[in-house]
Amino acid sequence: MGEIILDVQNQRTAFATGRGLLQAVEGVSFTLERGKTLGVVGESGSGKSVLSRSIMRLLPGTAITGPGSRVLLNGKDLTGMTEHELRRLRGPEVAIVFQDPMTSLNPVLTIGKQIAEVLVFHMGMSKRAARAKSIELLRAVGLPQPDVRVDQYPHQLSGGMRQRVAIAIAIACEPDLLIADEPTTALDVTVQAEILDLLGRMVRERNMAMILITHDMGVVAGRCDDVAVMYAGRIVEKAPVRELFGNTRMPYTAALLASIPRVTDPPHRKLDAIEGRPPDLINPPPGCPFAPRCRFASAECQQQVPALEGQGAHQYACIKPLNTGVAA
């Protein structure tokens, strides 16, 4: 076992809405070791982004965290920390890269100032030293002409370059954990490949742990050690990446994989769509949240929510798992 960076225990996050309590994340637990990348995959509303914000403690005031929920970062419990204490950790211990670099960067500050701000605040650097370090970071993330770009504003950069800047800010204080929340969803496919390569390289070189959140199975397939699949606020399957794709146990994961159009398919192949839509999280169905859309579901599935269980590293929340003939 490597050094455990992150230990999430029974994370529950709900939001008060006009119609009632919306349970966005429900009982999520996992650990993440240094040097490892965990992919978190799910469709809209599956709770993957709320989970990342729950770990960062970046939730709006309307969010309600469950009483038994704990997030341990390097052994320190973030759950009870004050905003002041959290600000000291964000940057040196945990950092996040968001989907849209145009809204996550400040449009009226040069990118150099935005990187230097972190270095001055957390590392106590002088302005001059911070500027030199900013240029070095911009070079490390592959921004061309870093000594010129450092004085430019976000609007002068392309989407891919802005995301490189956001990554430079995130790694500036050498965090132990990097959360990348849909970091390439707004980017073109060739730029996406470059940014994912960059993130992978940063994690390796700096020996960080990373959570890569995405809706795209193709993104996690090649770039994660383990993958957690979320549905209706829960992790419904978690396994090492090859095991997840090669020996899928949870019917939702299998259905999701089957519904993806692939470049290797012959033209006009009929896709195996999942009928229906994800459940209403204010009034969830009884039992397994996927049961109403699952072709293998029976009355038993609607009795109670299946726990995330399994042998060793491969866990799934299903009482009628697939591939039962195959030894795990």
Binding site: L196, A221, S259
Partner: protein
């Protein structure tokens, strides 16, 4: 000279389509330059490329929204680019469009009945009862329960359902040509599959001709008979779907395909290397081949001469001085 000749029974013909947008100070955005493609009746032409390649501008120019700066668009022998006013409005019944954002493209204050009936209203077809009956038929056809939907408003439906409603509206006048501009890009993958299957079903049942625009190469392959790849306003390569995915010969097509993240942990993830740098501006495109500033095979010839479109195999057109033919 014309690599696109040889094709008979063309239903939609796009010839030398050029779209330019004026900027201040005499500058122009060269969004689409001399784009040519011919589509047969009942065929789907996929149009792929990254942001700024001109695929949406080309689609809108086909729709005459707005009219292209140059070139001709001909649908079933009728030249759309020459039509004005009432004649254009009448011709519009034959070509309809669905857009990317399913919720933004429906008026939130109207009922589903009124939204889907709008084309009939504009065309002056039928009494109110006849229109409602027709709307109900269309909703059932796209998998929306008409009894429950007619008097509801868009916010009561999910993104996938709104896109089905958009499809019903686009098809209610029984058009011959359906232009889909990133029609499934905003949808989750499980819902996306439902809508793609629906489009395929409708295309076969109604004999539609489709122009399908998307940045997603896997989605395009699923619905297209032939695929055109664009870069910075120009056609790079055009071939039938199987050929272009299996034997791409334009360096840009190859790069684009190698960058698709396949949902397979053992897939080859090596992306064909481009020359580092950014997409050039369509205000000031490179001389010669527009891809040459990123192309690892570019030579002095590529800077000097615009590569002509040539047919390297039957129906396989490429515009490149150094195509990757083994």
């Amino acid at each position: 000279m014309n690599a696109h000749s040889g094709e008979i029974d063309t239903f939609l013909s796009i010839d030398n389509l050029t779209v330019e947008y004026p900027l201040g100070g005499g500058k122009r955005v060269y969004a689409v330059t001399n784009f040519t493609a011919h589509v047969k009746r009942g065929e789907t032409l996929g149009l792929v490329g990254e942001s700024g390649c001109g695929k949406s501008s080309a689609a809108r120019a086909v729709m005459q929204l707005p009219r292209p700066t140059g070139g001709k668009v001909t649908l079933d022998g009728q030249e759309l680019t020459g039509l004005r006013g009432k004649a254009l409005q009448a011709a519009r019944r034959r070509f309809q469009m669905i857009f990317q954002d399913p919720i933004a493209s429906l008026n939130p204050r109207q009922t589903i009945r009124d939204i889907v009936a709008a084309p009939l209203e504009i065309a002056g077809i039928g009494t109110r009862e006849e229109q409602t009956r027709r709307v109900a038929e269309m909703l059932d056809l796209v998998g929306i329960n008409s009894e429950q939907a007619l008097e509801r408003r868009p916010h009561e439906f999910s993104g996938g359902q709104c896109q089905r409603i958009s499809i019903a509206r686009a098809l209610i006048l029984e058009p011959d040509l359906l232009v889909c501009d990133e029609a499934v890009s905003a949808l989750d993958v499980s819902v996306q599959a439902q809508v793609l299957n629906l489009l395929e079903k409708l295309k076969t049942e109604l004999g539609l001709t489709m122009l399908f625009i998307s940045h997603d190469l896997a989605v395009v392959k699923h619905v297209s008979d032939r695929v055109a790849v664009m870069y910075l306003g120009k056609l790079c390569e055009l071939a039938d779907a199987e050929t272009i995915y299996r034997h791409p010969v334009h360096p840009y097509t190859r790069t684009l395909l190698s960058a698709v993240p396949e949902p397979d942990p053992d897939a080859d993830r090596a992306v064909m290397e481009l020359i580092p740098g950014e997409l050039p501006s369509p205000v000031n495109p490179p001389s010669g081949c527009r891809f040459r500033t990123r192309c690892p095979y570019a030579t002095e010839l590529c800077a000097r001469e615009v590569p002509q479109e040539r047919e390297i195999a039957k129906g396989h057109i490429v515009a490149c001085h150094h195509p990757l033919i083994n």
